[in-house]
Point group: C2
Chain length 588, copies 2
């Protein structure tokens, strides 16, 4: 061992001991005849002292040390004259009597500090240096701890972690697969799993009863902000359970994690919101419940035959932003621009200020009487000083989603989305299907193995689009952190589901035959859920992006800029796989 | 929840309780007016009783249950009249008063019993049924427990589990990569990692200090017996350590695993054998130390100018098989055939029996005097009744490997390779390089990042093939379960290593530039090792094959016969990847 102690552990009690430390040079400061070196490792920083009066040669060598040099020193722990209460080792310093240079370093391309001068691109290229910054390393320490806690929690409940294969078959349903050509089976391809969904269901058929896995999954999607082509799931499945059992189990896990990782005690059961209610009250299937500002439907209040925009609307809804009546014209224009951005797509924004005297002053004053505006105020339960913001449209779902974006924006502006506050809930009773304009058919909102709610099964024949799924999402701070469902275990119901989804029996057999065959041999009732680990960690870490919870993330083109992957491969490799690259001109 | 208890937990104390169970029908037996059903789940088997006198309708329904039907029952726990001491629930039975069929089952294609009538192929095709057999499930439970123990052990020592990416760059050095075409980067490919070797070294450069990961790795090799294209590694790396620190750490982990998983206490330090000694004494770099039968070199004893075969040999070695002098001519012929098999390749086998009177009778009697044969006996330390087996050849290494196979065969025949006995050791001081006839150059025996032993560094310039590596393998019962090395952290030494391995500076930069660049910024001294988890579990489980430690293994053609993967993919998928499959006639 190159050291007797780490750079984070020496304290006043160690004074007088001879110690050996190893680590990286964080900083060298020369003060008169003394040289102070901050020595850093994963565990902390310890101050080293060199004195030219005691040992000039050593002091000179210390002065030549550069940032990020790797050194080993031997010295004696000394009580500091001026202590530093901001660091755990701040009471002591090391009087060095031996210095070994283990490795030199070029000048790093950015500073290894929490507040670094490096931009995103250069930090990713030199990720191994970026990871030296304690703020980044801490996220990965948190990730490690979370995985240990999850594993021990589930293992104690009798869950078995089972590794499912990474080289499986491709299923064109759903997102795009990454495929892997098979050399031993020329012309054939494996696919990397988008999730172990069917495999964990097979484990239930196999009687494994309680399964989990923290597992890499892959989706070849055009990467929107903060998506990664490879991501990690906490994947779980249980047999002989109902939705209630699964919710209890994983609500327990979430509470355990908040307690052990963040010191947050959550004693009450999580709120449960049916999907329809979540959409009505918040315009979202993952509402941020850290703050109120619920939607108020204003069809009765504002459809008065006086304002054509509202009169033609199929939905009018408002939110009340407390204390925002003081917003300037410029601020209101910004909000209007915000909702009119193509990503949101509203046509305009109507506002109404509640003045100090209780009167209402709105952007549509000329269409409404003061009494009508007062009714609006009453309906919105708005107080003097509040700002009422109203959207309308001819598509209820779309308008609600626009209003949701506005609500989140106002929550942000009002500082109501505190990263240290956690609002958890379950959203339930999702629609089973959603209509796809592109495919001109119903699509499974979750996946084709989702069980309908028992009371809606009869509707499968008469009105499938009204069927609700026995599905549930766990939502935290406006982010879906996990979701799942009770699965179909009856082969006949599964066959009907494929039929509704427009699968021919042949195609269903071709793609999911292995699962449907397995279901012939005694499938138990089962269900489960999966958490997005990267996202879950980022919430615990208080981060906006998942990137810094991942050791070596990829950029938005799916590239690892540090490894410079993907890259061209040798012709020999292609030949062995019987593949030819056939680029179009624009790609060549 | 569909049950109040599992099928493995009810005991005599529960008598009188009303319970609900759910599980699979293992067996239905009709005895007079009674019907007995064995109900099975992951946790055990509980006997259900139906009585036609009490409830004829229920009894009739019970009689119609088939094997592997999934049922739920409600009943009362009753003390059995004739108890079954062989099963934990054998003191009780359930008097059933409600029976719900949850799912029927086709007749399974093989019996769900430890001794199944299903062959390997059908068991793999219906792996979800095979996994219902408790002997198979137990292996996966063991695997789960081992992973939990490994993680907690290492985490307690400050190791962080860090997930490294699965989509990396291809490195033609070493085994063949599986590649993954990138749609977003047309004509470019990711590779799946053969191991996270370079990434964990980058984590050391990043100051992570102690890293581990239980991680899937991939190798596109022609599958020899008991290899899988995807396999799992326990991958570890530490900074500021020497070989001794790594050996101490992981010897501790191995002892912990044997204690917690097998109840085996290992108190002594593991034996350490330098590679050269292991080869000399056992002809193997992974000797099975559960038994002796060490090699005795016989050059001085048998090179007498009388027997041309030995006179021309560069190596003559023997082993002494205790009590085997009674072997018949037929048995000896079998042994001769064994060593002459192409996989072993010896030219012949010389034997010598030590008779009860102490005289020696050998297959080469005519070439040697009784005195010379007596000297052989002395040299071999053979006792009356022992059988001396001798191989010779003109290639010392090859002949030793042949003699190793013979030693293992004799150990097997003599029952000395007991699966419940564990002999662990470290093999150290491996050669740094081995000569490749195919490539006509030195190849790294481990990998190009392995550090030479300090005392041999000077030999790199003068006699590289004599350089020993600072590498170590952990061997258990003749199987390499783990191995690793101290890595090079000095960029200059790394560059020299690439040079010796025949890399041009350009090619080294192209393939490993990211690592060599990283080493410019203060790489700490570091080293690590990796265990083959599948193999490690199979040893703990007492299995010959790794297959039954893997939930969904592939066959020797790399196929998952259950999923029927790999398979052809849609033209649309190929088009999106700008790929064309170009089969030769024989593959089309």
């Amino acid at each position: 061992m190159y050291r007797t102690h780490t750079c984070g552990e020496l304290r006043i009690d160690n004074v007088g001991q001879s110690v050996t430390l190893a680590g990286w040079v964080q900083r060298v400061r020369k003060m008169g005849g003394m040289t102070f070196v901050d020595l850093r490792d994963r565990y902390g920083i310890t101050q080293l002292v060199f004195n030219s009066e005691t040992n000039q040669e050593l002091n000179e060598r210390a002065n030549k040390l550069g940032r990020e040099f790797v050194i080993q020193i031997v010295g004696t722990v000394n009580e500091r004259y001026s202590k530093n209460a901001n660091m755990p080792t701040g009471d002591i310093e090391i009087i060095v009597n031996e210095l070994n240079l283990l490795n030199a370093s070029d000048v790093p391309p950015f500073t290894i500090e929490d507040q670094s001068d490096g931009g995103d691109d250069i930090r990713m290229k030199y990720r191994y240096l970026d990871l030296r910054r304690s703020c980044v390393r801490k996220n990965l320490e948190l990730r490690h701890k979370m995985c240990i806690e999850v594993r021990n929690y589930l293992s104690d409940l009798g869950f078995l972690e089972v590794e499912t294969p990474m080289l499986i078959g491709s299923t064109p349903e759903g997102a795009r697969d990454f495929v892997v050509p098979s050399r031993m089976n020329p012309g054939q391809f494996y696919a990397l799993p988008q999730s172990p969904q069917t495999l964990k269901q097979l484990l239930m058929v196999a009687g494994f009863d309680r399964y989990f896995q923290i597992v890499k999954c892959f989706r070849d999607e055009d990467l929107r902000a903060d998506r990664q082509p490879e991501f990690t799931q906490i994947d779980c499945e249980m047999s002989f359970v109902t939705q209630e059992d699964i919710i209890q189990t994983f609500e327990g896990m979430a509470k355990h994690l908040f307690k052990t990782l963040r010191g947050v005690e959550i004693n009450e059961p999580f709120l449960r919101l049916p999907w329809a209610e979540a959409m009505r009250r918040f315009g979202s299937d993952k509402p941020d419940m850290r703050f109120g500002m619920e939607f108020v439907e204003l069809m009765d209040t504002l459809k008065c035959g006086t304002f054509p925009v509202f009169d033609n609307a199929t939905y009018i809804g408002g939110i009340c932003a407390p204390g925002c009546a003081v917003y300037t014209r410029k601020q209101l224009d910004q909000l209007t621009d915000f909702v009119k951005r193509p990503q949101i797509g509203a046509k305009g924004l109507v506002y109404a200020r509640v003045q100090e005297d209780g009167s209402v002053k709105s952007s549509v004053d000329k269409f409404y009487t003061p009494e009508q505006l007062d009714a609006l105020k009453q309906k919105m339960d708005a107080k003097p000083g509040d700002l009422i913001l109203i959207l309308s449209g001819d598509d209820t779902l779309k308008t609600r989603k626009q209003l949701c974006e506005l609500r989140l924006e106002m929550g942000e502006r009002l500082g109501l989305r505190d990263k240290n506050k956690f609002a958890l809930l379950w959203v339930t009773e999702f629609p089973m299907f959603e209509w796809s304009d592109e495919e001109q058919r119903l699509m499974a909102m979750h996946h084709p193995f989702t069980h309908p709610m028992d009371e809606d099964i009869a509707l499968l024949d008469t009105n499938p689009s009204a069927v609700r799924a026995d599905a549930y999402d766990m939502v935290c701070n406006g982010i879906e952190v996990g979701g799942g469902s009770i699965r179909i275990h009856d082969p006949k119901l599964q066959a009907k589901m494929f039929e509704i989804l427009g699968f021919t029996p042949e195609r269903a057999q071709e793609q999911f035959g292995f699962l449907m065959n397995a279901f012939k041999y005694g499938a138990p009732p089962h269900g489960g859920l999966a958490y997005g680990l990267d996202r879950w960690v980022s919430i615990f870490a208080g981060l906006d992006s998942i990137r810094d919870c991942i050791a070596f993330p990829k950029n938005n083109s799916g590239r690892d800029v540090m490894l410079d992957a993907p890259a061209a491969i040798d012709q020999k490799q292609l030949d062995e796989l019987f593949l030819k690259v056939d680029l179009t001109e624009e790609n060549a």
